[in-house]
Symmetry: none
DNA sequence: GATGAATGAGGTTTCATTCAT
DNA sequence: CATGAATGAAACCTCATTCAT
């Protein structure tokens, strides 16, 4: 059997191991051997599930992004106020960013060599942008947001809220502050 | 003559070459040989200016961050309204982010191996955070901002405005939108 | 049941698969997995019939050589003129060479690592040489060949007629030409 | 400097080392590290002269074949009788074959993966065939050979005189025998 | 100072072989 | 008997670093 779907369980275990090693060793410190050890399998086994290192990273990016977007969509779909959902979205976003330790951009760039790969990466970003744009449009429709907003632009601005604070400020207070600013910034007049 | 004080001109040329190669090849694709070629010097010459690759990257991070912070401070010091300066700050920030193509985090992490280096990196972040916190405090003092803000927190929020929009939205409109939101979000009542 | 005496049918199928893969992929491209796939069996099964890859190759060399020598002996034993039989011998030889695509020497060398193996390989060559020397001696006895020949030497010369023409000359014409030269070269005066 | 012509001296030394290792270890036993050790250089240095193992082998085949063909052409050009030159040609051929220890075919096949490479290999064979065909045509013109020969076919037959005797017969006697057979076989009537 | 040929540690990848099912 | 997932030794190749010129 060539690659693909032996056991998805092991495939996922390798991906989990990969991000763990990535967090600990950084991108240049990421060695297949360490991934294998972290997943408690043999080095060669990794290659039964992923053609090469590049594919492994690509799968990782895809896997975590997909998971993140699914969570974001689930939050957006909830029947709660715009700003309650915004808070959760931002919280989830921070978790995503923490998980990658600032490596997201580099790993994505690493993986996106070649035209096809670049398109694939853009596709991921578009999906996230769409989720947020739709979220804004939804908020406007429900009358929770000002009516003079451009959903695409505001979506972009939301997606740019991307860096976790590099310094250890209190996360709760930080989020509260952020949401309050945005409430005043984009909320409808009472 | 000490390693660090040779011809600063060539030193800088190497740093410029480094970030160019970084932009084109990514972090893992960054090879000293390519840097040398881009700087139009011999491979060995790089080592006359930097102890090793790690030092080169560290110097690069330091160099560009310092430059960026200096620009930010200059903008903050200008005698213009808070939101005019905010717009310039954000514009400068986007330029910084573009320059690094998402690699800032990874390169910084790469460089910050070891306790001493970690402290050094934190120092950089603190400096940026301080600039922004002071900026917010200044805005409050001048009565341009609401008085109930926590400068440290808002400074953190500003520093997190860190990801350039991944998609090609119009930069001017994007900045306008962002500033307007913040104006409503943190500006003093008229 | 001993390793060597399992189903000879499957054993032979593996050998056939091996030479097929060898023809397509070359010596360095020969992988047990491909052999197994070509034989439509599992990879592990190959090891039920052959101790290891080396043994498999050795068996292959032995199998095809034995077959070839048997055919050669059969041709020699026929009750036809020397040169009619020579033509058939050469034709069979060309088929043998084609089958190996120039890899015979390399595979044999591969297999013949170690003193015992070397002796075994020399044994094969000696057998072929003997067949041809005897053939020449027979031709001399029957008066079809010149009486001043050294059967051992001429046998060696015949065995050296070993490379198929690398270029696609007409096989029939080629053989005719060769036999005619030899007829004039070693045939008895009429 | 990228590959190609640093010092041709070292390049040649690597090729010499390669064929030595090939003779001793066989095709599958050929390791770049051994080649490097045999050439008394570092492993990485080999890669400064040859992109990869495949290129090294290709260069080796080309180098030795070119050398061999040049020698063959020099022999053919000499102002001596056809059969004197034939003997030298055969002797040189035996040396060539001995040098490769039966690996020529396999190495050539190894190298000739891909259409372009196949054409390149055919080109080599054609060159040899041409040398021999011309040699025969020359012999006919000079009246040393029968006039009813087909130079192309006889050239093919000569090029097929390719396997050194596998058994240690006396080389001199062997060559004498062979030349005598060919003299009777293709020589003009006295 | 400047250079780039040389090096070899170290990472990636392959594949013969094993063994639990 | 048959299988193929798993393994890790071993081979390939890269590239940071050195050093003789």
């Amino acid at each position: 059997m060539a690659l693909a779907t032996r056991s998805n369980e092991k495939r996922r275990a390798i991906l989990e191991a990969t991000i763990r090693v990535l967090q600990e060793q950084g991108l240049r410190g990421l060695k297949i051997e360490d991934v294998a050890r972290a997943a408690e399998i043999g080095k060669g086994t990794v290659y039964l599930y992923f053609r090469d290192k590049q594919e492994l990273l690509k799968a990782l990016v895809e896997h975590r992004a997909t998971e993140f977007y699914a969570d974001a969509e689930a939050i957006v779909r909830q029947d709660r106020s715009f700003f309650e959902r915004l808070r959760d979205l931002l919280e989830r976003r921070l978790a995503f960013i923490d998980e990658w330790r600032g490596l997201w951009g580099a790993v994505a760039a690493e993986v996106a060599q070649g035209e096809a790969k670049k398109a694939w990466l853009t596709g991921l970003h578009e999906r996230y942008h769409r989720i947020l744009s739709d979220f804004v449009a939804d908020g406007m429709e429900r009358g929770e947001l000002r009516q003079d907003l451009e959903p695409e632009l505001v979506g972009a601005a939301l997606s740019a809220l991307g860096c976790a604070p590099q310094l250890p400020v209190d996360r709760g207070a930080y989020l509260d502050q952020l949401v309050e600013i945005w409430k005043k910034g984009v909320g409808a007049k009472p």
